[in-house]
């Protein structure tokens, strides 16, 4: 399960592997910030097409493991209400050397942001709210993920 309604804690991603093979551990944390397009944010609500999102994230991990020699990939993405400073998405990639861990981490967050059916609604201090469309259309379907 890659989606969770529970608070994501960074300590969940800090453990060393038991046989100390890992030389590089890249942890990406996407966090809720207080400002969006000049407006003060109070919190976000995340919604997902859960069955499809779970399957796609699993396939993205498989794809990353096929492309780079990785020891471990762990992903958690929030659904429900996420407050300022909380973690919305966490991606942990472990490998022997740093280059493949950085590349795989970047690959995974970009695919999650632009492909996986998850949506966030921003709630602002002025009482308004809006679904974030990330200022973009859907990414071309011909792009493989």
């Amino acid at each position: 399960m890659y989606l969770t309604r529970n608070v994501i804690r960074k300590t969940e991603f800090l453990n060393a592997d038991e046989d100390f093979k890992t030389g590089a551990s890249v942890i990406f944390l996407g966090m809720v910030r207080a400002e969006s397009e000049g407006k003060k944010v109070l919190y976000l609500d995340y919604e997902a097409y859960e069955e499809m999102a779970e399957q796609m994230i699993g396939e993205l991990i498989t794809s990353a493991l096929d492309q780079w020699p990785l020891d471990e990939v762990k992903i958690l993405h929030r659904t429900g209400r996420v407050w300022l400073g909380q973690i919305a998405v966490a991606i942990a990639v472990k490998s022997v050397h740093r280059d493949e861990a950085y590349q795989a981490s970047r690959y995974l967050i970009e695919k999650i942001k632009y492909k996986v059916p998850i949506w966030k609604k921003e709630y602002f201090a002025d009482g308004t709210s809006q679904w974030s469309l990330c200022g973009s259309e859907h990414v071309n379907l011909q792009t493989s993920y």
């Binding site: 069955e51 998405v89 059916p117 949506w119 966030k120 469309l133």
Partner: protein, 81 residues
């Protein structure tokens, strides 16, 4: 044929429901299903132009034919992360 279509995010809010049952001709394409939905719920007109359709949990091409018992979902531009 009757096909249940799931809505998410902005589409769900405009439609004011999580899903709707459409009565579509046999072998309707995803693109045709979107047009049918536009006529059924006119408020969706502008957002549907930016949506993709998923069939059975996979992004579907506009020409993909919808079959009885398929799970169809309307996906507005995503914004995870």
């Amino acid at each position: 044929m009757k096909v249940t279509v799931k809505f998410f995010a902005l589409v769900r809010e405009i439609a004011a429901c999580d899903e709707a049952t459409l009565d579509l001709p046999q072998e309707t394409s995803c693109e045709e299903a979107l047009l049918h939905l536009e006529n059924t719920i006119p408020g969706l007109f502008s957002i549907l132009r930016r949506c993709l359709v998923a069939v059975n949990g996979r992004y579907a091409h506009p020409d993909t034919r919808i079959l009885v018992d398929d799970e169809v979902a309307i996906l507005p531009p995503v914004s995870g992360g």
